[in-house]
């Protein structure tokens, strides 16, 4: 899994302070949700943030920032990402911006996906960033190999691993942890998402997908446990409408959980 140094890519990443990948072996555990909330939290802390969505067949990021129907523009410095907010602290890049309609399927085999990811990494004109958050599709295949291979030369800070507490998700996330080990990508920590649901009628908490599994797995693999995020329909709704959850519910237990997850990311040592 070696690739030669690419000066164009090195130049792009020279002015990006931190690179964080959001991974999970399993689909639908909340990678895009966690990526979105991390990006919002970092931006709120005054950081310049970029978010790159490399889920080519099922990009969710444009919807979660209410940026559907936006387009990418080309300038002499490359592809200009889409701004997610008026103050222009949050920039977004996704294949969703390159498709003609929502319904259009990206029916691509591996080599074409690999080429696209390479292009995203070398051609996106992020400018200076404090953080680049990379959202990935489920699995350990073309997209993951490509992104890790291409980024090896710029030494990303590491990966945030998202899981849900039930066994069937943990089984896949264990594979992803082994992928990180093989790819020598540091694991920044594990997030246990969809942990418990509080009934809006009677406040009873049900562990729909069980609870505690993520923390136990983090301990077993000797990686940090970043925290537990409850199932929260107000969060789902915020993502559906593409409005920043933190603006509407800054005091909610769900946002407090994200703050706890983001704190160590804000304290990351400088990349060498």
């Amino acid at each position: 899994m070696a690739s030669a140094a690419d000066p164009a890519l090195l130049e792009r990443f020279r002015i990006i302070k931190h690179v964080i990948l959001v991974l999970s072996g399993k689909g639908g555990v909340g990678k895009s949700t966690v990526s979105t909330q991390i990006a919002l939290g970092l931006a709120r802390a005054g950081k310049k943030v970029g978010i790159l969505d490399i889920d080519l067949c099922g990009p969710s990021i444009p919807k979660m920032f209410n940026l559907e129907n936006r387009e990418i523009h080309q300038c002499s410095d490359g592809w200009v990402p889409v701004f997610a907010d008026e103050s222009q602290t949050l920039k977004v890049m996704s294949i969703g911006f390159l498709l003609k309609s929502h319904d259009e399927a990206v029916v691509w085999r591996g080599p074409k996906k690999t080429a696209m990811i390479k292009q995203f990494l070398t051609d996106t004109f992020w400018g200076e960033l404090d953080y680049l958050v990379i959202d990935t599709p489920p699995g350990t295949s073309d997209e993951h190999i490509s992104v890790v291979e291409n980024l090896r030369q710029v030494k990303p800070d590491g990966a945030v691993m998202v899981t849900t507490p039930q066994g069937v998700a943990l089984a896949d996330v264990r594979k992803e942890l082994n992928f990180c080990k093989k790819a020598r990508l540091p694991v920044l920590g594990v997030v246990e998402n969809m942990s418990g649901y509080v009934c809006p009628h009677c406040e009873e908490c049900s562990n729909i997908f069980s609870t505690g599994g993520g923390e136990a797995m983090a301990a077993e693999f000797g990686v940090p446990f970043l925290g537990r995020v409850p199932l929260d329909s107000t969060l789902t709704r915020a993502l559906e409408s593409g409005t920043p959850f933190v603006d509407a519910f800054p005091q909610s237990p769900t946002w407090k959980a994200f703050e706890k997850i983001i704190a160590p990311l804000l304290a990351l040592p400088e990349r060498t």
Binding site: G25, K26, G27, G28, S32, L56, C57, G58, S60, K63, M64, H102, D103, E104, A105, V106, V107, W108, R109, G110, P111, K112, K113, A115, P137, G139, T140, S141, D142, H144, I145, T164, Q166, G167, V168, A169, A171, D172, R174, K175, L177, N178, F179, A183, Y197, C199, P200, H201, C202, E204, S206, N207, I208, S210, L231, S233, T236, R237, L239, E240
Partner: protein
């Protein structure tokens, strides 16, 4: 954007390879420097892949081949696949096969209670693992020495294994084969359609959750089915309303902001197969590898499963 790269592109080909079956093979501008250029340019007419015939011969006795698809991950494809298989198999005369082509994240061994099982080789091919007398299962999970092992494979290698699954597994007298897939519209999906040939696939069942973020991916999967000519048997909405075990009141964890799967089906004139509520016991049964429909036959979720399966079965008998 020109989206499709031809299916027949070698792994070491340049980015704009026209495909080895193309008229332009070996002659296009992008062929310059490709290690395969000489072979392509020699223009020996290539016969059809001989494996295609073997796949066809192997699977011809299986009456119905159903794909379980979804653009989005984690919506319950594997859960649905297992419950569909268990429910179909309640009729003891029906032999059911389950093929898991999610190479990087196989969940079927766990949700069907077969973790740690191995595949055996026999004179007639790979023997699947039997859950009961009439349910046979095959998954990459059975081929891994250690369940934590990551399968870090690029597309061509995944395609090779899928072909092997289709060509070499001895399904016996299986009547209905249910194929569980990974999320997306990429190598695994294209290979399945290519090897099975769209007209030999009975149809696809699409699984989604009610919120838009999942539905936008399902729309892509519908486009995929229509493009490659796979019939859509219908859409199932999973993780619909949650009933609190304490106060018995319903709430929507994944709210159907634009009307959920039912509205999508109405818009695109597709059969809506039904709505399956979120029941914590389903996740538990899956973790324990038990059949939810047998463990909790009286629950609303089991009733919902049965009605969805009945809807699918009706389409099978009429087709």
């Amino acid at each position: 954007m020109g989206l499709e790269r031809p299916d027949d592109v070698p792994e070491n080909a340049p980015e704009h390879c026209p495909g080895v079956e193309s008229d332009q093979a070996g002659k296009a501008a992008s062929c310059a420097g490709c290690p395969n250029q000489a072979i392509c340019a020699s223009s020996v007419p290539k016969g059809p892949d001989p494996d295609m015939n073997e796949v066809e011969a192997r699977l011809a006795p299986i009456k119905h081949k159903i794909l379980v698809l979804s653009g989005k991950g984690g919506v319950g494809k594997s859960t649905f696949t297992s419950q569909l298989a268990f429910t179909l198999a309640q009729d003891e005369a029906t032999q059911v096969g389950v093929l898991d082509v999610d190479i990087c994240g196989p969940s079927i061994p766990k949700v069907m209670g077969l973790e740690g099982e191995q595949v055996h080789q026999s004179g007639s091919g790979w023997s699947p693992v039997f859950v009961s007398d009439n349910v046979a299962v095959m998954s990459v999970g059975f081929l891994l020495g250690n369940p934590d092992e990551a399968v870090i494979w690029r597309g061509p290698k995944k395609n090779g294994l899928i072909k092997q699954f289709l060509r070499d597994v001895d399904w016996g007298d299986t009547e209905i084969l249910v194929v569980d897939t990974p999320p997306g519209t990429s190598d695994e999906h294209l290979s399945l359609v290519q090897y099975l040939q769209a007209n030999n696939i009975t149809g696809a069942v699409l699984v989604t959750t009610p919120q838009d973020v999942a539905l936008i991916d399902v729309r892509k999967e519908i486009s995929f089915c229509r493009k490659v000519g796979v019939k859509i048997l219908g859409v199932v909405e999973n993780m619909a309303a949650f009933v609190c075990p304490n106060c018995k009141k319903e709430s929507e964890i994944f709210p159907p902001t634009s009307g959920g799967a039912a509205a999508l089906c109405a818009e695109l004139t597709l059969p809506f197969l039904g709505r399956i509520p979120l029941d914590p016991r389903i996740a538990r049964c899956c973790d324990e590898g038990k059949s939810f429909v047998e463990e909790h036959p009286e629950s609303p979720a089991a009733t919902a499963y049965k009605s969805v399966v009945e809807g699918i079965r009706k389409q099978l008998t009429s087709s």
